[in-house]
Symmetry: D2
Subunit: 355 residues, 4 copies
Amino acid sequence: MDMMRAAVFVEKGKLELREVPKPTPGPGEALMKVTLTTICGTDVHILKGEYPVKAGLTIGHEPVGRIEALGPGVRGFAVGDRVIVGAITPCGQCRACLSGDGAQCSHGADGFEAMGGWRFGNTINGCQAEYVLVPDAQANLAKIPDGLADEDVILCPDIMSTGFSAVESGGVRIGDSVVVFAQGPIGLSATAGARIAGATLIIAVDSVSRRLEQAKRMGADVVLNFKEQDVVQEIKRLTGDGADVAIEALGTQPTFESCLRSVRPGGVVSSLGVYSGHLNVPLDAFAAGLGDHTIVTTLCPGGKERMRRLMSVIAAKRAPFRELVTHSFPLSEIEAAYDLFAHQRDGVMKVAIRP
Amino acid sequence: MDMMRAAVFVEKGKLELREVPKPTPGPGEALMKVTLTTICGTDVHILKGEYPVKAGLTIGHEPVGRIEALGPGVRGFAVGDRVIVGAITPCGQCRACLSGDGAQCSHGADGFEAMGGWRFGNTINGCQAEYVLVPDAQANLAKIPDGLADEDVILCPDIMSTGFSAVESGGVRIGDSVVVFAQGPIGLSATAGARIAGATLIIAVDSVSRRLEQAKRMGADVVLNFKEQDVVQEIKRLTGDGADVAIEALGTQPTFESCLRSVRPGGVVSSLGVYSGHLNVPLDAFAAGLGDHTIVTTLCPGGKERMRRLMSVIAAKRAPFRELVTHSFPLSEIEAAYDLFAHQRDGVMKVAIRP
Amino acid sequence: MDMMRAAVFVEKGKLELREVPKPTPGPGEALMKVTLTTICGTDVHILKGEYPVKAGLTIGHEPVGRIEALGPGVRGFAVGDRVIVGAITPCGQCRACLSGDGAQCSHGADGFEAMGGWRFGNTINGCQAEYVLVPDAQANLAKIPDGLADEDVILCPDIMSTGFSAVESGGVRIGDSVVVFAQGPIGLSATAGARIAGATLIIAVDSVSRRLEQAKRMGADVVLNFKEQDVVQEIKRLTGDGADVAIEALGTQPTFESCLRSVRPGGVVSSLGVYSGHLNVPLDAFAAGLGDHTIVTTLCPGGKERMRRLMSVIAAKRAPFRELVTHSFPLSEIEAAYDLFAHQRDGVMKVAIRP
Amino acid sequence: MDMMRAAVFVEKGKLELREVPKPTPGPGEALMKVTLTTICGTDVHILKGEYPVKAGLTIGHEPVGRIEALGPGVRGFAVGDRVIVGAITPCGQCRACLSGDGAQCSHGADGFEAMGGWRFGNTINGCQAEYVLVPDAQANLAKIPDGLADEDVILCPDIMSTGFSAVESGGVRIGDSVVVFAQGPIGLSATAGARIAGATLIIAVDSVSRRLEQAKRMGADVVLNFKEQDVVQEIKRLTGDGADVAIEALGTQPTFESCLRSVRPGGVVSSLGVYSGHLNVPLDAFAAGLGDHTIVTTLCPGGKERMRRLMSVIAAKRAPFRELVTHSFPLSEIEAAYDLFAHQRDGVMKVAIRP
């Protein structure tokens, strides 16, 4: 049996690079050689035991690489094609997918499964490995356009898709004011997305000056440091009655609440964060339910068409996503990479991992 | 000075029928002779001091009547025209109105005002009176089609408009499953709206059998008594993975929470209730923010085009709204009417008040 | 080799019942035993040579039946399950499908193919046969709910899906006025769809009194015979400035033009017809391009979720579709059925064919 | 009586600068001192007698200026405020406006009027004059943000609003491919709008190299000269199956047809042109009505909120609209300006007229 190296979750706090069997693609599957991947905040949660996965699982959900082998029935692709696959791998054939909500995919069944579209490094082996098996390959293999390097597209599978989805679900349109709370990679991506979608007043909020500077390069018109001023008050001053859309990119009660306080009557809070503890809706900011507010949450959209669109944004040079990849490690040093990323040392944004 | 009788809020717990000056319409206004009006749950909150209005205000926001006089500049109407006016009276000319959100109207200004469209019996004198002054009359006077009696259209200004808006904001479409929590007049109207909008599984929830029976007549396919069974579990059984849309028509933490627990991943909670106390989002039912859920609130849409559409529903006999008007009082007995309505005696749904 | 009987297109004007090989399902496919099917106007066009298909093809695209065999990889279904399949069989995994437009499916490829979703009886063998091979079965097999007979659901695969799509693409909403030109099976289905979607003034136009009577039973509020009056003028009289939406269900210049003349400024012409000859936009009715008009065309949506929704309409008894099946023939007499249907004799609407 | 100078339509081919009475604002109106205006292609059509207006009418519909006087009832504005007003002046209070379609405004009535929102220089006196009377001022006066010069905002009333509306009505979203046929001022504005709305492949088509160069500066990724190549073929090559959206910005049969031939199945033709002669839909490019195509037309949206949004685009420096103003004339030389503009001499794009 062929073997390969993979980053395996062992137990809370412990990740190990192990030799595991190299998979063989079955019907409708593809085997992808991973040439570049990265670490997500979610992976850190898994490592810390805050999000449960089974012991022995290979983690990671952001693969760039090339097709190593194709299972029966996968058409239109060839071994060697350079491809990416989204973090979310919709089947395209279940009730959720056929309803346009592939992130809640039930894998062909007649239903919806909460977060069911997220399989890599969650319910099946992920891509922090030399190879990864791609399910429903026909719907998920996305060819990389000529002229784009691996580093150019590494943020498409999750970061860009998630960040942009906040803008899309929020219904941002030309002339909108948009505030984005938290400027980590996903918040920065939402900031870029707001700019690309036509918002004309984009306010980025964080407390780390380096991130606020990056926010400007991604398209923010104004940056606010919440440690230095009352940001909700300043947002009201800048927008008049509040922003049209507020994006939550952290997953905490204070940022959620600030979002709701920042939007105008009739405004939208578009939420990306993963909440823990509790989530309260402040009734004063909510007009007791009579303010025509919308709160919408979105899980990273996937599928090859989504990836194609995001790569077209990169190819058209609409925003400098490559700047967010601040560090690089070989797969053999992935544990050091986790350590750097988890502790947010050295101004790290995203870490490239090269198998 | 001409005088008229009006139901005036005096202080917490005290409403009085008083002689007050009959108003004269200024530019853009109309004076309406009220021939029928009704009492809303909100009026009861005002009477109890739970929603603050200034002492001396005439309350009530659901007028049916005819045009008594037109102020300068109001075109296309004649004295004597039978009309209704929505509970919400958008100006049509402010930023909110021009953005399609008249319920958050700022009265011509360049902004949005939370609940600003609700003026009758809130920020200006209302219609539990012999006459009511209609602001922005050009945008708000809606002619009653021939063949419809006052009783036919009395629920259009608020009850129908609010109930239907839950269905519209929830994006209900042909083949959806919709659950409506609470079958008071607004919930019953949402039930009817869901039927009229094409939902094919409409589940009405309440604990009062009379209301559940009425819900069936309004269009519910299934009725559930939450005192007799675990309704969330039953909704899951009936729908598979949960309803497409859940409508909250009460304004309490338990009903809000049941809504969120009743919808499928990717589903919508469409909220009409006025919340007090607190509002907590249960994270398990919310997939911690990753379930593609939407929570949307709507305040009763107004304006003459809205009223025209709702009256067309009545004229086309799409639902038996007239059945909801269970009692009738002359204006002189309005205090007795409040007493009956506030205590929900005698199977009361809505009370007709005749000035 | 097992054989079966199938209605095969031989040449222009000639259809033949032949013995052909019974297919075996490959990966992702299913073999369906057909228990009921029907003839579509499109099949008549094929027979007349007006729409080209290759000689030897089995025609028909509206199958009701049960699963005879499942190919590798199809999950969640069992042999014997009662199912229908839509006339359009989207793969769910191509760019078109992942963009929500399965009717223009490119079968897994990275693109769109005009009418590519229509395969049965067009580019692959159809279902006027004892058995039919279902492509992309995971996305297309739709279980029939308990309690519904074959006759109840026979119009779901094409007629209902097409008719309702006019209403959906037209954006019909509560309180709209809708006019439907031509009351054949698809027009009647559009009429029913308009009623189910909340239109409050539904005007059905045809010249055959039997069809106009049926239109009333499907939900029309008003029926107009274009041989007896100027229907555009009457529509204007009934609606004021024109209908919100006009549905074209025939495919001729006069009906298209009447649609455009019947809608108000800002209105929508929702077109289902298959046009031949030419199609001219009358500039006077089009305000020379400045009337905010929309013309939208829709090809019958397919897929199992679509079928599930349509069957839920039937199960909820929202419209009497079964009445449209006016005649019944065994497969052995399909040539007689074509003859009756093509000549519109004996008040035929739709013909049930029983293999 | 105070008099003022105004450019008056006398008869076909004849425009005259005349002394006419300076108007006084009535209820709901405002008098605006015009400090800058421009000439539109439509004005040239009027001058040539191709679009009929009554003799003696002051033409022009793109005013920049300041408030000279306010009629009774206009709130929130002061004499001296710098403002613009859209070419289309919706009342905000009629059925069309309350339905969100102010361009088809019926001026308070219960209906829609084709092109009814276009009043300046069409049904009431326009703004190629020292002063212009603004109807429904509350809905239409839009304050110019500090820091913007008259020249910065002169294209907002019509050119930008029209060009951007093609993008909005076309539903352009992040990652779309958009082709814009004709790069006059409105086409160039559509090109800019496509860029601002997130399209990632914007193809501008014209035959004048100067316009194609300007198109690049407005945001086009690719420019095509239709005299030098088969543009439809090249668009297909660049996009795969065709563009997602094609924008018609000229109003001719060939450009309309090229649009339809350029879009993919399921694509949208968004039309801005004013057609004369005839308009034919080529059935081969239209898949005979089965290609899920949409054809949508849009008349320039107006109102103060629209103007506010467009000026926010200018203030945020999202596109170099000021470059399009290539020439400047005093009002006294407006006839020379018409002559230059009508004959498209000297590379003229838009002409500034200073009263």
